[in-house]
């Protein structure tokens, strides 16, 4: 049961933290259509979070809720990959991060719809439709900005170079993953690598962006609870009300 709780938190924490980052754009986007689309993406991700962390809390069986998990754990107990906690940077970096994440998220959900755990399969089926749209949108923008103006190309390449070392973690498994894969509950992260790779390489080629040469698994540890220095600040902000007013209802 403990590995399953961890596995579900890894999913829910990833969507929660990424949803938080995306939501930071609200009202500050580069075009009105983009404001709307980013808010929509954030909304979807928070929706997934409610389902994943809700299920995690239920499996855990200690009477906690999705909100308890979101608002009452400190950074050490968060299990998201580091990629999603990196600060937004410019809109180019934000979109590149979404694309790199979406490519993985989509590959993962496509596998999860046939999880041996029916609750997981059901959540995945709901999320997959939205994430299909996310990936369509983010890959389209990566292509258009990568193959756009000189400046947009340079910014997208810089974004890719900066984020690349964080991407390997998405497909990097540990013992918990192995146990869950064994049980047919969640796929082995390594098994998603070829699908991720194919999507990413194809899109980047169309975007006229160069795949960085360095290793892409340099920055990892988030899924085991070792985060960047950024997560603590994010949580201080996100959790403030729950921490400052324990027991209040909202």
């Amino acid at each position: 049961r403990a590995p399953l709780v961890t596995g579900l938190c890894r999913l829910g924490d990833a969507t929660l933290i990424l949803g938080h980052r995306v939501s930071e754009w609200c009202g500050h986007g580069p075009a009105l259509e983009e404001d709307i689309a980013l808010a929509n993406t954030a909304l979807d991700l928070i929706g997934h979070t409610q389902m994943w962390l809700g299920l995690a809390a239920q499996v855990e069986g200690r009477g906690r809720s999705a909100d308890d998990l979101a608002y009452h754990r400190d950074a050490m107990h968060f299990r998201n990959p580091l990629l999603v906690e990196v600060p937004n940077g410019d809109i180019g970096r934000t979109l590149m991060r979404l694309f790199l994440f979406d490519a993985w998220h989509h590959a993962l959900l496509e596998r999860l719809v046939s999880s041996s755990a029916t609750e997981i399969a059901e959540i995945a089926a709901k999320a997959l439709k939205e994430v299909h749209y996310h990936l369509d949108r983010s890959s389209d923008l990566v292509v258009r900005l990568g193959d756009g103006s000189e400046e947009s190309h340079a910014r997208m390449q810089a974004a890719l170079d900066l984020l690349w070392p964080y991407t390997g973690e998405l497909c990097f498994g540990d013992d918990t993953d192995a146990a869950l894969a064994e049980a047919g509950i969640l796929p082995e992260p390594g098994d998603l690598r070829s699908a991720w790779d194919a999507t990413v390489r194809e899109t980047l080629a169309e975007a006229t962006l160069a795949v960085p040469e360095g290793r892409n698994d340099v920055q990892r540890g988030g899924r085991q609870g070792r985060h960047t220095e950024h997560l603590g600040y994010l949580l201080a902000e996100m959790q403030f009300l729950q921490r400052a007013y324990p027991g209040a209802e909202w």
Partner: protein, 315 residues
């Protein structure tokens, strides 16, 4: 002129004016000013609420607030589109906003300081907005009227959500109740200001009413808002910050203290608590987004050229 008479006759008959049809220049200009101001208010209005999205206290509240702010951006989009039918581009309107030539609702120059403000904005600010907008569903300009119908539906949903937050706070812990009361204290008079200066001081009103661009007077709407809101405050157990508030049996409405209009004009002049932050945030979004917009344009041009080349090659 005969054209003007015919135009007024159509309006008096309750007909809708549509984009390609003849209209007086004053009608067009007034509508552009009014619709774009409303659009800008939706856009700038994202900011005070956006300020609490990352700090929303539960996942559900975060989702609701995100959806609401997204709706506001959507309303901005409808309204800019409606204004565009009158022959002004969205970029022109944006420039007018950023240069200060076009205004947005002053209420958004007040800060959101606690979570209760998310309730107060929904309850009071959206409530006042609806009071303004419901009659505008019957406005004479077709695209504007249709945008208003769509917007009003969503706004009343937002207002209920705001009232629900307020109720949770007002009936919550002592600290929450304190925040709720404080939010009401801070937003009450600015909400009353949303209807604009008293009719006697209001410019443009007469002609706008004849054209059915404006349906009710500012004072009528303000009175209606007070009449509806005071019992809600009582229901919440909160105190409206007006010691002279009293039911007037004769007029079947509340007597209430006028807002401090000198404050209103100060805020209008740019001296509100957040004018600089709000316009600064929009300016920054615009400036930082230039490369993004240019990049998309560059791609579109390349793609068109590639399609043209492919078409030529195929011939």
């Amino acid at each position: 002129t005969p054209e003007e008479h015919a135009f007024q006759a159509r309006i008096d008959a309750g007909e809708k004016i549509e984009p390609k049809e003849w209209m007086p220049e004053g009608y067009r200009k007034t509508l552009i000013r009014q619709i774009s101001q409303h659009a800008h208010s939706e856009i700038v209005g994202q900011l005070p609420e956006g300020n609490w999205i990352t700090r929303a206290p539960t996942l559900e509240r975060k989702a609701i607030l995100l959806a609401k702010v997204q709706d506001e951006a959507g309303h901005g989009l409808y309204l800019y589109s409606a204004a565009e039918t009158l022959g002004i581009s969205r970029d022109e309107m944006t420039e007018q906003l950023l240069s200060g030539k076009a205004k947005y609702s002053s209420i958004f120059n007040y800060p959101t300081l606690t979570w209760a403000d998310m309730g107060a904005i929904g309850w009071l600010v959206d409530g006042a907005a609806i009071m303004n907008q419901v009659p505008l569903q019957r406005t004479s300009y077709g695209p504007y009227s249709r945008a208003m119908i769509r917007i009003c539906k969503e706004e009343s949903f937002h207002q209920r959500q705001g009232f629900h937050i307020m109720m949770k706070m007002a009936r919550g812990t002592d600290a929450q109740r304190e925040m709720a009361q404080d939010a009401l204290n801070r937003f009450w008079y600015p909400s009353l200001m949303m209807f604009g200066p008293s009719d006697k001081d209001s410019v443009h009103s007469q002609q706008s009413m004849a054209w059915k661009i404006k349906i009710n007077t500012n004072d009528e709407l303000r009175q209606r808002f007070v009449n509806e809101t005071v019992p809600q405050a009582e229901f919440l157990g909160l105190t409206v910050p007006d010691p002279d508030l009293a039911w007037n049996e004769e007029k079947q409405g509340y007597d209430f203290t006028e807002p401090d209009w000198s404050e209103f004009y100060e805020v209008l002049k740019g001296n509100g608590p957040c004018n600089r932050e709000r316009l600064g945030a929009r300016q920054k979004a615009w400036d930082d987004g230039a490369w993004f917009r240019d990049g998309l344009t560059a791609y579109a041009e390349k793609a068109a050229a590639r399609r043209a080349a492919a078409a030529t090659a195929a011939e």
